[in-house]
């Protein structure tokens, strides 16, 4: 299994001990940075939501539900956690604050644009970590889902408060404790299971909830509640592994989504003692899940499976029971929806007979009909393939040509007295033709994609692309390495392969791209190595030259006009005010300014609050410049900036304008930033007032 191997790295004893201690600590006290808002904090809440994306929300649009109105939900959710006696008081002393906000603001907070919502995307609620706010969308709150939604979001609050959302504790195969990341479907499944169990109805996350409901039938609700509270799943793991074998729980919990997890667990415990399948099937929660949409309208049968079964002699025995005919109708409707009316009674009877024979090997009637149909009516089976091609593949691969269609129909044309086995052979031959066409066109599509990606990149960056034939051969090289690459993967790999195969072209293109954004390379040394075709050598050249290029770019962006001239590079045009100001600051902000924003002190503060966590002020020599970076030091260090702790902002997203001005005043007093720079930022007046005041 790959999953335990990946996380073995994080299982050093000291780390595990620290993690367990962390679990315990969170079990008894809220984390130190947890913020509890109350009803009187409306102003702070508005500011908080504005900073997080609901930029135009007003206080009057926020409805804070009174504590007594959500008391029932809160108590019900609290009941789905198992707490030691001394922690109950803690949980009573901290309460969620449930807010109902207009749907458009909730969508904005949840990163959905108006266009997304017009396309049917929607969100219902939100809980932001490390605080007690539970946000509900007004639309869902007004519906019958109100209580369900309220409890679901409160559940997230308690999850966040108690065990955190990120890790869970299990044991490895040697019995040692270790901590693995908690997949988000587990969090959702546990939460919705808790809510749904209390209300006897599932509304959200069908598969995730089903997976946890199955788990409940194996280990009991109490074990799950306890594990959910602490993040300690060792007991649950032991119970599951006892029923389904060692490793089953880890496989289950490591599944990528709820649907896979459910099937993994079901396969692992089906027929084992310790799992009562009848009780599971009769669980009202399962019944509620089944009334939600059923998956899959039409089964997708792998083509090869039709040829892998023993040939059966033709028979005319008919099974005419009503239920069999009904099942056949359903199966034909699934497999050949457009052609179901073209089967004669005799066809139906023969297909049914054949399907019943196939059932002995397949065990699934719909699949058995899919296998039987081409053996009885290969002409209609291939007709269905042609229809499928038209509806699914044509947009990408292009339609089948007239000659291809006629060849396919000739191959499967019915003649009298043909045996099942002969029919099967015809169908197989026709499918071979279809697959060949599909393979050929798919490859062609992918090669064209590679050519288009590289040509587009070259044209966009003003270099002549290599000849098409060379690009197609580059594409073939990629596909030989991996036949299953998706178009998205091909896009990335194409550019990488291009850069290492044609390093000179790629460097020129990158240089042009930088120049288009006002960043000019100081030196790009090509060394006359244009003829390089060895990807390993190409990679060295590309990376070496890119280091020059990005080094040069940084010196322009962060250096002064004078230093740009000194280094013999083009300064940033002064006619463009935002660009001119951008000369002072880091390339990250610079990139934003290209979007047309005007740099003002207010904007800087907004940027800081919205995206950034640290301020770094640098004085290379005779010139001061300001750069803002993301949280953590990696980026600033990687770019060679010094971090000056004296004036670095706290990692406090709620920094105010005043605090920012204090920070910059300090920077000026310490000599890390010039008055010129502050004038350019249009905040000199504010700073001088502060200096006078001090």
């Amino acid at each position: 299994m790959i999953f335990p191997l990946i996380f073995q790295l994080a299982t050093q004893a000291d780390q595990t001990a620290a993690d367990i201690a962390d679990f315990r600590a969170r079990f008894n006290v809220p984390p130190p940075n947890f913020r509890f808002y109350d009803q009187n904090d409306l102003r702070s809440i508005v500011q908080y939501l504005r900073r997080r994306g609901a930029s135009d929300i007003s206080a009057s649009e926020i409805r804070i539900l009174p504590a007594q109105a959500v008391a029932a939900s809160r108590l019900a959710v609290r009941g789905s956690f198992t707490l030691p006696h001394d922690s109950v008081r803690l949980l009573d002393s901290v309460q969620p604050l449930v807010l109902v906000i207009p749907q458009r603001h909730l969508n904005r907070l949840n990163q959905l644009s108006d266009q997304d919502t017009q396309l049917g995307m929607t969100t219902r609620g939100l809980h932001l970590s490390n605080n007690n706010l539970c946000l509900l969308g007004a639309d869902d709150y007004a519906s019958s889902a109100r209580v369900h939604l309220e409890r679901h979001e409160i559940g997230h609050f308690y999850d966040d408060l108690l065990s955190g959302d990120s890790r869970l504790l299990i044991t490895d195969i040697y019995g040692a404790d270790y901590v693995i990341p908690k997949r988000s479907w587990v969090t959702e499944g546990l939460n919705e299971w808790g809510t749904a169990r209390a209300l006897n109805e599932v509304r959200y996350y069908k598969y995730e909830t089903l997976a946890i409901t199955l788990l409940e039938h194996l280990v009991g609700a109490a074990s799950i509640r306890s594990a959910r509270t602490t993040g300690d799943f060792r007991e649950v793991q032991g119970l599951v592994d006892r029923i389904g074998g060692v490793g089953l729980f880890e496989q289950f919990i490591g599944s990528e989504n709820g649907a896979e997890a459910y099937l993994t667990l079901r396969r692992g415990v089906l027929g084992r003692s310790g799992f009562n399948s009848v009780a599971f099937e009769n669980d009202p929660l399962v019944a509620s899940l089944l009334t939600m949409n059923q998956p899959l309208a039409r089964p997708l049968v792998p083509h090869r499976s039709r040829f892998e079964y023993t040939d059966v002699a033709q028979e005319s025995e008919s099974i005419e029971t009503e239920s069999a005919q009904h099942a056949l109708d359903e199966a034909l409707g699934s497999y050949a929806p457009s052609l179901r009316n073209q089967f004669t009674p005799s066809d139906r009877s023969r297909i049914l007979t054949q399907a019943n024979r196939e059932m002995t090997q397949l065990g699934d009637f719909v699949l058995a009909v899919a296998v039987a149909l081409p053996k009885i009516r290969p002409d209609l089976a291939i007709e269905q393939e042609i229809l499928d091609w038209s509806s699914e593949d044509a947009p990408l691969l292009g339609p089948l040509s007239a000659s291809e269609l006629s060849r396919l129909r000739d191959l499967v044309r019915l003649t009298p007295n043909v045996t099942v086995s002969q029919n099967n052979a015809r169908y197989e031959q026709a499918m071979e033709v279809v697959l060949n066409i599909r393979t050929r066109r798919t490859e062609d599509l992918r090669l064209t994609h590679v050519s288009n990606v590289i040509s587009g990149y070259c044209n966009q960056n003003q270099v002549e692309p290599p000849p098409q034939a060379e690009l197609r051969s580059l594409g073939r090289r990629l596909l030989e390495r991996d036949h299953n690459l998706t178009l998205d993967e091909l896009t990335d790999l194409s550019l990488e392969e291009f850069r290492f195969t044609y390093p000179v072209l790629a460097i020129t293109a990158e240089s042009n791209r930088f120049a288009r954004n006002g960043i000019f390379a100081t030196t790009v040394i090509l060394d006359g190595e244009e003829l390089v075709r060895d990807p390993r050598r190409g990679r060295q050249i590309y990376e070496r030259e890119m280091a020059h290029l990005t080094g040069g770019a940084r010196s322009v962006i962060c250096g002064s006009r004078e230093s740009a001239q000194l280094n013999n590079v083009n300064p940033i045009p002064s006619s463009n005010a935002p660009l001119y100001c951008a000369e002072l600051i880091g390339s990250s902000i610079y990139a934003r300014l290209l979007g047309g924003d005007v740099l003002t002190a207010q904007n800087l503060i907004v940027y800081y609050q919205r995206d950034l966590r640290a301020i770094v002020v640098e004085r290379p020599s005779d010139h001061a410049s300001v750069a803002f970076f993301e949280e953590g030091n990696q980026i600033s260090e990687a770019r060679g900036f010094r971090n000056l702790p004296l004036i670095r902002g706290q990692s406090n997203p709620a920094i105010t304008s005043d605090e920012m001005l204090d920070l910059l005043t300090n920077a000026y007093r310490l000599g890390f930033i010039s008055d010129l720079a502050l004038r350019r930022l249009q905040i000199w007046d504010n700073i001088s007032v502060r200096l006078g005041r001090n």
Binding site: R52, G53, L109, N110, Q111, L112, S113, D116, L119, G120, M121, T123, R124, G125, L126, H127, L128, S129, E153, H156, D159, D165, S184, W185, T187, E188, Y204, Y205, Y207, E208, E256, N257, G258, A259, Y262, L263, R266, E281, N282, L290, N293, Q294, P295, L296, A297, P299, L300, P302, D364, L367, T486, D488, E489, S588, R610, R613, E630, E631, S651, P653
Partner: protein, 90 residues
């Protein structure tokens, strides 16, 4: 219970279909990109990502139902990247 049997059978078939597998790879890639994409490209990434899930929801609601939670997880990742604070989106 016939209903659950059919549900399980259909789910087994769905999870072995090519459409599911390619959507799974795509979603995995999106999750990966959400973690790595530059903080200044998050806007365009979000647009593309939501547009993919919108089209999945419209054309293959059965698949979207499976990946809906992953969609919301990706949004949560993006919120954390932008604001520094984690989020559970429903």
């Amino acid at each position: 219970m016939v209903g659950l049997d059919r549900f399980n059978r259909n789910l087994e078939t769905l999870l072995t279909s090519n459409d599911y597998l390619s959507a799974k790879v795509k979603v995995r890639n999106l999750k990966d990109q959400a973690q790595k994409t530059s903080v200044f490209s998050i806007g365009s990434f979000t647009t593309d990502m939501n547009s993919y899930f919108s089209s999945l929801k419209k054309n293959r609601p059965d698949l979207y139902e499976i990946f809906e939670q992953a969609h919301r997880e990706i949004i949560g990742i993006l919120i954390r990247r932008k604001t520094g604070t984690g989020a559970v989106v429903d």
